[in-house]
């Protein structure tokens, strides 16, 4: 270790001993000549540029690797068949023509658990996520949020996941096909198709390395993998009573509606909670705070409050659609800050759009 004067510390030592003043000194430098920035050199509203690579896994039906800075997430989508006889309380969809509303489609996805996302953090991606440990609260929370967003964003159609049994050759036999008591949907057009099985998508997200902000990377990986997913053409074979996939025909891509992108920020306050509330009661200001977009692990450890916004600007000419807003952990962020943050999120949306 190099000899140093007893009154000065290297910046790395300073960061380890007192992280909060270290980040504060970077954001609010004492002399005006030094420009303010975060410890990683970024500006508060600057996020790490994303890099996306798809179709990297051979045995998955769809896959993607998303890297934002040092946070890397791999997502693989594998489809398995599930016969309707195995589903308890199965009810056939009302009509194969889409007079059914969007809610009927999401009902199938929700009721029969056709989408199974899972986030695995215990891969050695960070010092506190060593393998062999049961899922931590963070992993469970992320899995829940990804599942929720996957369903509420309505990017997938249940119709893509249905496997039909074509009964068109039976129409000549008359009554038997039409009065199918199983509830086979009879088309107005005349070809009777019955849903005999579903594709269930197992969406697995593994974190190779974690340097803050896992949610944005995980969601981008899910979206990229689903856009890359191609399912084989499948049909129900009545003689063998199983699903048969076609090797000759090209696999069918999923139809994805919309392009939602998540943007997370952490809120760093100069004063801690208690002094803030005291100063507010005495009529003072909130105290300086910074919104750090796309925080890394160091910044996340110093911030209590975080905001996540999921935006979608894929509809040209329409207003920005917000598909999710989560803010918790503090009182600094109010409606005005959220409004400004949505604009930052719109910029982030464009970054991801260009990266895809």
């Amino acid at each position: 270790m190099a000899t140093q004067s007893s009154l000065t510390l290297s910046s790395a030592t300073f960061a380890k001993l007192s992280p909060h003043p270290y980040l504060l000194a970077n954001l609010q430098p004492t002399d005006a000549s030094t420009p303010s920035s975060r410890t990683n050199g970024r500006q508060p509203t600057q996020a790490r540029p994303p890099a996306i690579n798809t179709s990297s896994l051979t045995h998955a039906h769809g896959s993607a690797v998303v890297r934002t800075g040092d946070t890397t997430a791999v997502c693989g989508v594998r489809a398995e068949t599930l016969t309707t006889s195995q589903i308890p309380n199965y009810r056939a969809p009302l009509s194969s023509i889409s007079t059914s509303s969007i809610t009927a489609s999401t009902d199938e996805l929700r009721y029969y658990d056709l989408l199974v996302p899972n986030i695995e953090l215990a891969t050695g991606c960070a010092p506190n996520f060593l393998p062999g440990v049961p899922p931590t609260t963070l992993a469970q929370t992320l899995s829940t949020r990804i599942y929720s967003l996957l369903h509420s964003a309505r990017i997938l159609e249940a119709a893509d996941l249905r496997i039909y049994h074509e009964k068109s050759h039976n129409i000549g036999e008359g009554d038997e096909a039409m009065q199918d008591a199983e509830g086979g949907d009879v088309d107005v057009g005349g070809d009777a198709r019955e849903v005999k099985a579903y594709w269930v998508l197992y969406i697995d997200i593994l974190f190779i390395s974690l340097d803050g902000n896992p949610f944005d990377a995980a969601w981008a990986a899910v979206l990229a993998a689903l856009r890359d997913t191609k399912l084989p053409r499948a049909r129900w074979d009545a003689d063998r009573e199983m699903v048969l996939c076609s090797r000759g025909e090209a696999p069918v891509p999923l139809s994805i509606t919309g392009f939602p992108i998540a943007c997370t920020a952490a809120v760093f306050t100069a004063k801690d909670r208690l002094k803030q509330s005291q100063s507010r009661r005495d009529g003072g200001e909130v105290g300086s705070f910074w919104i750090l977009v796309d925080p890394d692990r160091f910044e996340e450890s110093l911030c209590d409050e975080s905001v996540t916004v999921v935006v979608d600007r894929s509809e040209a000419g329409a207003e920005t659609k917000i598909l999710g807003l989560e803010k918790s952990g503090g009182t600094v962020v109010g409606p005005e800050v959220i409004r400004r943050f949505v604009q930052v999120a719109e910029g982030r949306w464009q970054e991801f759009r260009d990266a895809f």
Partner: protein
Amino acid sequence: MTVAAEPEALLSHLHKADGSATYSYAGYTVIGAVNGPIEAQKRDELPEEAIIDVVVRPAAGVGGTRERHLESLLQSTLRQIILVNNFPRTLIQIILQITVAPENEYINGKLVQANVNLPVVPALLQAAILSLLSASIPLTATLTSTSLAIISEDGQRRTVTNPTARQVEQSQSFHVLAFTSQSELILAESEGAFTMKEWDDVYSAAQKQCCTTTTVDDTDTIMDEGRSTDMPDLKRFIRSTVEQKTASDLYWK
């Protein structure tokens, strides 16, 4: 099923817990119990503040990933209002048991659900606050929380406060907001598709319900003309519940 139009609360009914409260409103009934400050596990303790541990148990079944998510939401929210620096190296344990949840008979109910359970969050927060007050844990502020849904009817969008389970199912978007007693937004969770303008309307509707706009004089209660009569004043509710409890406790003094 009739939904309670007014919130109801019962304080300090559990004798073994340091503080407890049962809160029911809008079809949800939650029993909360608070123990603290108690000794923390050596591996968990923090040198300068107390640890807040929230446990949420659902009405049916054991907790799964959705309860972990609710616990982490509540923990980050309650940590901001409890004076944790007063009790270093201790544990404040908050247990919330959901006993009644409104059923939506139209949906295919499963016991194990994986998605976020937002509709129960206001009831959980209110039960937690009343339990903390019953346990006399020092707080910087109390919280009030409400849920709203944006429903589209005949092409019109309207905001509904405290929607029923069926309305939540059919809504375009669903929002939960929580405010401190100093009228600051501490929690905002939304799901569904909406625009920023719709969120602003939701925010002002929630603020009207959660934060009283008129000051209440001790001698003369001013009725706010702008407030609709069917929306209960949650802040006044917490205050009056604790006042009644304190009055009954001091009866023999």
